[in-house]
Symmetry: C2
Subunit: 111 residues, 2 copies
DNA sequence: ATCTTATATCGCAAATATACGATTAATCAA
DNA sequence: TTGATTAATCGTATATTTGCGATATAAGAT
């Protein structure tokens, strides 16, 4: 867009939107599932499981990481990614707060 | 992108991602808040409250509607939008399910 | 019938996201 | 040191999103 107006909203709205954005692609949800199912952080397997090229998966991982949803560390020639449960919990609560907050105000729809 | 690969993921992953996408902009979160705070569906006020042009707000409303998060009906020369609590609750539960599901498998991160 | 008001839609421009192949970088093994 | 392996980054193409002004539409008011 010509101008980006996102910063004109509240910080909380921006944070929630950023979190939602990180989850706004099925590949990233799938990645989170894979990470959760493994006890070890095997990264290369994600590429094999997902129907995407290695570079694309790497990009999605980068986005999840910059959103704070996963941690990553270098382990020799391979990388290790894990879910950042703390951040995840925080956003889970913020979402619940949003849902509850919205619902408390007006239980029924008028149209 | 050259090819869209979204449909190669599970339906549940796609649905969740679509829902997250609808929330992935602070303007849309702000709109939901406004809709929830009013007992009546006053649509024009949203334009006054948000720092966006009328046409842009209309577009965001359209996206929320097509995501199923809000209902809309024509009421004379003005439109009436309300939150679709049923759909909202469904997605809230799906999200909770995702969070819980992820966390159950592996409580602690390894990196 | 015309004017006003409220909202949707169209057309456009710019920004961002998605995807891939090619390349780079970094480590391990021989 | 060389070669193999793994993952990040770069460059590029295309699609989608965001945003606005202008226009269209639709109903109520005069």
């Amino acid at each position: 867009m010509a101008v980006h107006k996102k910063e004109e909203f509240t910080q909380k709205e921006q944070d929630l939107a950023a979190f939602a954005k990180a989850l706004a692609h099925p590949a990233r949800i799938a990645i989170l599932k894979v990470l959760a199912q493994r006890n070890e952080c095997i990264c290369g397997e994600i590429v094999e499981i997902l129907p995407l090229a290695q570079s694309t998966v790497s990009q999605h991982l980068k986005e999840l990481k910059s959103a704070g949803l996963i941690n990553g560390s270098v382990d020799g020639p391979r990388s290790c990614y894990c879910i950042n449960w703390k951040a995840f919990e925080k956003f889970n609560q913020e979402f619940s707060w949003l849902f509850t907050n919205l619902k408390i105000k007006n239980e029924k729809s008028c149209c």
